[in-house]
């Protein structure tokens, strides 16, 4: 794009912005000055957008992309926490080592099950809540704020509270369950109960947040879609099925992706839920997630190279999930 002086100057004559001002013939010096100004103006207009977006990209390169790639590089080396700068090339050995490790597969399985039992009920409940909140209600702001209060609670505080609530002998949840005739459950040491307990912390913190995101999307659905559906004789349930859900598809996809990423990273909850405060995720590794396994390998066993291999495996799994998600959503779109 060449600098065009003629269009850069404000069109005083055509616009009528300055009516009645007699045309002034500028002197040569003034013309040069104007040309310089307009060149500067053009330059500013052309480059300032890049100046505005570059800090984001520079920071992302430095603290997001570069470390991610470097993690891949480190995963091919033997690196110890004690001397993080000494790297010895070992090729794929870190990967074969972790794939041979039963604890890796255990952690992968736990991450998957905890991910499912925390994400699925969470998003379903959020959807139901959003639907209810979409009605005209008294004090609706109060419910929204109250539901979001767990989001303001940190993982650390929430996990510690839930440890107490899920206590075997004096925990409130077992106490409440005994009224239903259920014997005390060992929430920390039994496999499924402990995974459910860890998931419940996630569910508690994020359901309200997701409900608000669904609610926002629901409020953006044009009302006449419902009106015409109602005129066609669609029941409330049918309206929800055939108007609300299809309109929410992009939002649902978004929350599924975000929750999946979150679920693959679960770390603080199982770390703090452990009575022994170790990184093993319970005495039998019954709720050790991949995030916790990564921490154990890197910071407890001090093998940063192996931890990097775990990180990259997690990343590849996420990409895979992303592709599957994309394919499914395309299928859905094509079929509808």
């Amino acid at each position: 794009m060449a600098t065009r002086h003629d269009t850069a100057a404000p069109p005083a004559k055509e616009g009528g912005a300055a009516p009645g001002r007699p045309p002034v013939v500028p002197t040569e010096a003034e013309q040069r000055h104007r040309a310089r100004l307009s060149r500067r103006w053009q330059r500013d207009k052309r480059w300032s957008p890049y100046a505005f977006v570059s800090p984001f990209f520079l920071l992302f390169l430095a603290f997001g992309l570069f470390p991610l790639i470097y993690t891949g590089w480190a995963s091919l080396h033997q690196v110890e926490l004690t001397a993080p700068t000494d790297m010895t090339w070992v090729g794929m050995r870190n990967y074969t080592r972790i794939f041979d490790d039963d604890f890796f597969w255990n952690a992968a399985k736990n991450t998957l099950t905890i991910g499912i039992i925390s994400t699925v009920p969470q998003l379903l409940m959020a959807m139901g809540l959003a639907h209810i909140l979409n009605y005209k209600l008294r004090a609706s702001t109060f419910y929204r704020v109250a539901m979001l209060a767990p989001y303001a609670t940190s993982i650390a505080a929430a996990s510690l509270v839930f440890v107490l609530l899920f206590g075997r002998d004096y925990g409130m949840i077992n106490w409440a369950l005994h009224f239903a005739g259920i014997d005390a459950i060992d929430w920390q040491n039994d496999k499924w109960p402990s995974q459910i307990a860890v998931s419940s912390i996630v569910i508690w913190r994020w359901t309200g947040y997701n409900a608000l995101i669904y609610l926002a999307a629901m409020q953006a659905i044009p009302q006449d879609l419902y009106e015409s559906a109602a005129l066609d004789g669609a029941s409330r349930w049918k309206q929800f099925l055939h108007v609300t859900l299809p309109s929410l598809r992009p939002t649902i996809l978004f929350t599924v992706v975000v929750s999946t990423i979150g679920a693959s990273q679960v770390f603080g909850e199982p770390l703090l839920f452990d009575a022994n405060k170790g990184a093993s995720g319970g005495a039998e590794h019954q709720f050790q997630t991949l995030g916790l396994y990564l921490y154990e390998q890197g910071w407890v066993n001090q093998h940063l190279g192996r931890a990097s291999a775990i990180a990259w495996t997690m990343f590849l799994i996420l990409i895979l999930i992303g592709i599957v998600n994309y394919v499914i959503s395309r299928r859905l779109r094509a079929s509808s």
Binding site: P10, D44, K45, S48, P49, F52, V53, P55, F56, F57, L59, F63, L65, L68, A74, P84, T85, L129, I132, Y135, K136, L137, T141, F142, V145, A146, M147, L148, A152, S154, I155, A157, A158, L160, V161, L164, L165, D169, Y170, M172, W204, T207, L212, I213, A216, Q219, Q223, E227, A230, S235, P250, T251, G268, G298, W299, A307, A311, M314, F315, L318
Partner: protein
């Protein structure tokens, strides 16, 4: 919820006024279109409100008891008399004074920087035309999909090399960037900032920076406040990265300090709960005051354009 799911009855036009109102009221054809929620809606919401708030109330109750009285059946539901004693102990035990100062510095710096950078970048994406805009915006959205935790190992090596372990800049620097923030400000500025105002400023000869200072920032102020609060909450609650680079007693953030309370052979539960309460209280206060704006902000950021 209570109104039955009957389909639209044919409404006779210009009928007698009372019947017309009766027929019309429950239908979505009514002006505004929003349906009233019935008792079931209130019951469900009530249950969820209790479930949401109960653990927080219980934290306060547990923090006010003494440890022996906490281990009992049924669990105590009333406040005890030890609250201030426990808060005092937790405060000193976990170095919470320092932790609060640290967390305020970290969260404040991060939130302010994110808001500033997100506003200028969001403005460029919303209102300026430049080559590669669409592709760059796609990259921004794409970066939201990259989990930041997967970068911790090189970051840790970097911090170790720079000898920044236990120093706050190690926590602050990686948290200065937020793709969500850019996306959020873009969404807001697209509709909140009319193109004519920018054009008018440009015709008056304002440079891009002047436009940002005198037009964009004033227009974006409400969204900047909301984004600032969201980012403050997020950074305040960050756990994994501060946990890795900061020690639990030397120079912790609040979350790291609170997490450290549970250690030891016979952890004092009410002490832990007092620490958890102290760590959560400031944010709950922010929520009590600005909850409505924060809710609005999350909902605003959720809608795509």
């Amino acid at each position: 919820m209570t109104t039955t799911t009957t389909t639209a009855k044919p409404v006779e036009p210009e009928d007698a006024v009372p019947t017309a109102r009766k027929v019309r009221r429950p239908k979505s054809a009514r002006a505004g279109g929003q349906m009233h929620g019935g008792p079931i809606a209130y019951i469900v919401l009530g249950v969820f409100t209790i479930v949401s708030l109960f653990p927080l109330v219980w934290t306060a109750i547990a923090a006010s008891r003494d440890n022996n009285r906490l281990a009992q059946n049924p669990p105590p539901f009333q406040f005890g008399s030890n609250l201030f004693h426990n808060l005092d102990l937790a405060w000193n035990d976990a170095n919470l004074g320092k932790a609060f100062v640290n967390t305020t510095i970290v969260a404040g710096t991060s939130a302010a920087t994110i808001v500033f950078l997100s506003t200028i970048a969001g403005f460029a994406f919303a209102k300026l035309r430049f080559r590669g805009r669409g592709a760059l915006m796609l990259i921004v959205i794409g970066t939201m999909m990259v989990p930041p935790q997967l970068s911790i190992i090189p970051l840790y090596m970097m911090v170790a090399k720079l000898e920044w372990t236990d120093q706050l800049q190690a926590v602050i620097l990686p948290s200065l960037v937020s793709a969500f923030g850019v996306f959020f400000m873009r969404q807001y500025l697209i509709q909140a900032l009319p193109d004519e105002i920018i054009e008018a400023a440009r015709v008056d000869g304002a440079s891009s920076w002047r436009v940002v200072w005198h037009v964009v920032f004033p227009a974006a102020r409400p969204a900047m406040a909301v984004l600032g609060m969201l980012m403050f909450v997020q950074t305040w609650n960050d756990f994994l990265w501060p946990f890795l680079v900061l020690s639990q007693t030397g120079n912790p953030t609040v979350q790291v300090a609170v997490a450290g309370l549970g250690r030891g052979y016979t952890p004092d539960q009410s002490l832990i709960m007092a620490g958890a309460l102290l760590g959560t209280l400031p944010l709950l206060l922010v929520f009590a005051i600005f909850g409505k704006q924060i809710v609005g902000g999350i909902m605003q950021g959720a809608v795509k354009g």
